[in-house]
C-alpha cells in the first residue's frame, strides 16, 4: 500500500518520539535517588518516600530551561536574561522567522506570475489561498478582502507556527501563555475598531453599538425604553472588549489544555514507575508498567495527531473571528 507509507512513517516517527519521552519519564524508576525534574517536594513525617507534587503545567508554561532528555543530561539550563525566562521568547522569534522566510520565499516564487511548481510552493500558496478564500473574503467581504489579507494572513501564519512549534516534545507552545494571545488579541482589537471608525466615522461608529428601541406610550414607557437602550448599549460596548478577550482566552486555553492532557497521559507512566510519584498499587505490582506504558504512548500518539489539527483549527478560529469582527465593524448590521 504505497499510499499509506507517508502516514505510517509519520505515525512511527511520532510514536518513536513519544516512546522516547516515555522511556525518559520511566527511567527514574530504577534510580532511587533521582528526583523528577521540577518536582516540588513536601516533607511528610511517617511516609517512606518523599512524595512529590504533580505540577501538570510545569512542562507547558514558559521556563528558563529546555529539557530534551533530562535523564541523559540533555538539558539546556539558564535560558534567561536578568531573571526573565527566554524559552517562549526564543520560540516566538523562531516562529516569526519561519513565517517570514516562508512568505518571502513564496513572494520570490510568485513574483513572475508563473503557475506553482514543487511541493513547498504549492503548500504555501494553497495555505495563502485558503486564508484568502475561506477566512478573509467570507469574514471581511469581497470588497475589502485584499486590503486586510496581509494582516490576517500574517496573524494566521504566526499563530499557526507558534501552535505547531509546541508539538515538538521538548519545546512548548507560546500560545499557551495568555500574554502572547492577549497581545495578538489587542492588535486585532485595534484593527477592528480603527477599521470601524475609518468606515463610519468616530461618532457614527459609536452609534452602531446603540440599539434602536422605541416604546410607545407616556413618560414611563419612554423612560423604560431609555433604560433598556442604555443597558443594551453598555452590553454592546462591553462586547467590543469581551469579544477580543474571548479570542485570547480561547486560543490560550485550548493550547494549554491540549498540551497539559498530553503531559498527564504520559505522566501515567511516572505514576506506575517513578518512586517520587508511584501509586501504592504500582509498587506492589511493578508489571503494571508494561500495561500502562504502551497504552499511554498509543493514546498520546493519537492525541498528538488531534493536537496537530487543533493547532490549525485554533489559528483558523482566531483569524476568522477577527475577520468577521472587522467586517461587522466596517458594515454594522442595522
Amino acid at each position: 500500500m504505497p499510499r499509506l507509507r507517508p502516514t505510517l512513517v509519520l505515525l512511527a516517527a511520532l510514536a518513536a518520539v513519544v516512546a522516547a519521552g516515555a522511556a525518559n519519564a520511566a527511567a527514574p524508576a530504577h534510580a532511587e535517588s533521582a528526583p523528577a525534574p521540577h518536582a516540588k517536594h513536601d516533607d511528610h513525617a511517617g511516609e517512606k518516600h518523599e512524595k512529590a507534587k504533580i505540577d501538570p503545567f510545569a512542562h507547558v508554561v514558559d521556563s528558563n530551561h529546555i529539557e530534551i532528555l533530562p535523564t541523559a543530561g540533555l538539558t539546556i539550563d539558564e535560558v534567561e536574561y536578568e531573571g526573565f525566562p527566554l524559552k517562549f521568547i526564543i520560540l516566538i522569534t523562531v516562529s516569526a522567522l519561519v513565517v517570514a522566510a516562508a512568505m518571502i520565499y513564496l513572494s520570490e516564487m510568485m513574483r513572475d506570475g508563473d503557475p506553482p511548481t514543487g511541493k513547498l510552493w504549492n503548500l504555501l500558496e494553497s495555505l495563502l489561498f485558503f486564508i484568502r478564500d475561506k477566512i478573509v473574503r467570507p469574514g471581511v467581504g469581497e470588497h475589502d478582502a485584499n486590503a486586510y489579507l496581509p494582516y490576517l494572513a500574517t496573524l494566521f501564519l504566526f499563530i499557526f507556527a507558534m501552535n505547531l512549534i509546541g508539538m515538538v516534545p521538548f519545546l512548548g507552545s507560546p500560545t499557551a501563555a495568555i500574554p502572547v494571545t492577549a497581545a495578538l488579541a489587542f492588535v486585532s482589537f485595534l484593527v477592528i475598531h480603527v477599521s470601524g471608525v475609518a468606515s463610519n466615522g468616530f461618532g457614527g461608529y459609536l452609534k452602531t453599538f446603540i440599539p434602536h428601541i422605541e416604546l410607545e406610550g407616556g413618560l414611563p414607557m419612554k423612560l423604560m425604553g431609555f433604560a433598556i437602550t442604555f443597558g443594551m448599549a453598555i452590553l454592546e460596548y462591553a462586547t467590543a472588549f469581551i469579544r477580543v478577550g474571548v479570542l485570547a482566552v480561547r486560543l490560550f486555553a485550548n493550547m494549554l489544555a491540549g498540551h497539559t492532557v498530553l503531559f498527564m497521559i504520559l505522566f501515567f507512566i511516572a505514576l506506575v514507575s517513578d518512586p517520587a510519584y508511584q501509586v501504592p498499587f504500582a509498587k506492589e505490582n511493578p508489571w503494571i508498567f508494561w500495561g500502562v506504558m504502551p497504552f499511554s504512548v498509543a493514546l498520546v500518539t493519537a492525541l498528538s495527531l488531534l493536537e496537530l489539527f487543533i493547532a490549525g483549527l485554533q489559528a483558523f478560529i482566531f483569524t476568522f473571528l477577527t475577520a468577521v469582527f472587522i467586517g461587522l465593524a466596517k458594515h454594522p448590521p442595522h
Binding site: R111, F186, V187, A233
Partner: protein, 203 residues
C-alpha cells in the same frame, strides 16, 4: 465639542467594563502567588515582546513579501484574463468559421440536389427518347420481317408450285401412259396452279 448621547453611552459603558475588569487586573498585578500563575498572566514582557515581534513581522512581510505576491497574482490574473480574451476571440472565430462552413455545406447540398434533379431529368428524357427510338426500330424491324416473310412465302409457294407441277406431270405420265408435250405440261400446270390458288385462297 458637542457631547452627544452616543458619546455619553460610550463613556459610561467603558467605565462599566473597566469596573468589571478591575479584579482581574488587580490579581494580575498582585505580588502574591495566585492560582493563575500557570497562565503566565504576570509576564508582561512576553506580551510586549509578542507585540514587537508581530509588528515587525507584519512590517517585514509588508515590505518584502506582499508586493511580490501581489505582483505575481496581478501578472497571473492578467495572463488568465488575456488567455480568456484570446479564447473568447478564438471561439468567435471558430463560430464564424463554423457558420461559413455550414453555409458552404448547405450551398453544396443545394447544388448537389440541383445536379441530381438535372441528371434525373436528363435520364428521364434519354429514357423517353430511347423508348421512342426502340419502338420505331421495332416497328421498322417488324415491317422488314413482314416483308421478308412475304417474300419467303412467295418463294416457297413458287417452289411448291414447281414441285407440284413436276409431281403432277409425273403422276399424269404414269396415269396416261404416255409422254405429254411441253404444251400439255404448261396447260396442266396452269390449271393446277389455278386450282391450288383457289384452294389456298379458300384456306
Amino acid at each position: 465639542m458637542r457631547l452627544s448621547t452616543s458619546h455619553l453611552f460610550f463613556v459610561l459603558a467603558a467605565l462599566a467594563v473597566l469596573g468589571f475588569a478591575d479584579p482581574v487586573f488587580a490579581a494580575a498585578h498582585g505580588e502574591e502567588k495566585s492560582g493563575l500563575d500557570f497562565t503566565g498572566i504576570k509576564r508582561w514582557d512576553l506580551g510586549i515582546y509578542t507585540l514587537v515581534v508581530f509588528g515587525l513581522l507584519v512590517v517585514i512581510l509588508y515590505v518584502f513579501a506582499w508586493p511580490g505576491i501581489k505582483q505575481g497574482l496581478e501578472k497571473r490574473e492578467a495572463t488568465i484574463l488575456g488567455e480568456r480574451e484570446q479564447a473568447k476571440r478564438d471561439r468567435a472565430e471558430a463560430l464564424e468559421a463554423l457558420t461559413r462552413a455550414k453555409a458552404d455545406l448547405d450551398a453544396a447540398a443545394l447544388k448537389a440536389k440541383e445536379l441530381l434533379d438535372e441528371a434525373r431529368r436528363d435520364a428521364d428524357a434519354l429514357r423517353a427518347t430511347e423508348r421512342e427510338a426502340g419502338v420505331k426500330d421495332a416497328a421498322d424491324e417488324r415491317q422488314r420481317a413482314q416483308r421478308e416473310i412475304a417474300a419467303a412465302k412467295d418463294a416457297a409457294l413458287k417452289e411448291i408450285y414447281g414441285q407440284a407441277v413436276a409431281l403432277a406431270a409425273m403422276i399424269s405420265e404414269k396415269a396416261l401412259q404416255r409422254n405429254i408435250s411441253a404444251e400439255d405440261h404448261r396447260r396442266l400446270l396452269d390449271e393446277s396452279i389455278a386450282e391450288l390458288k383457289g384452294v389456298t385462297s379458300k384456306a
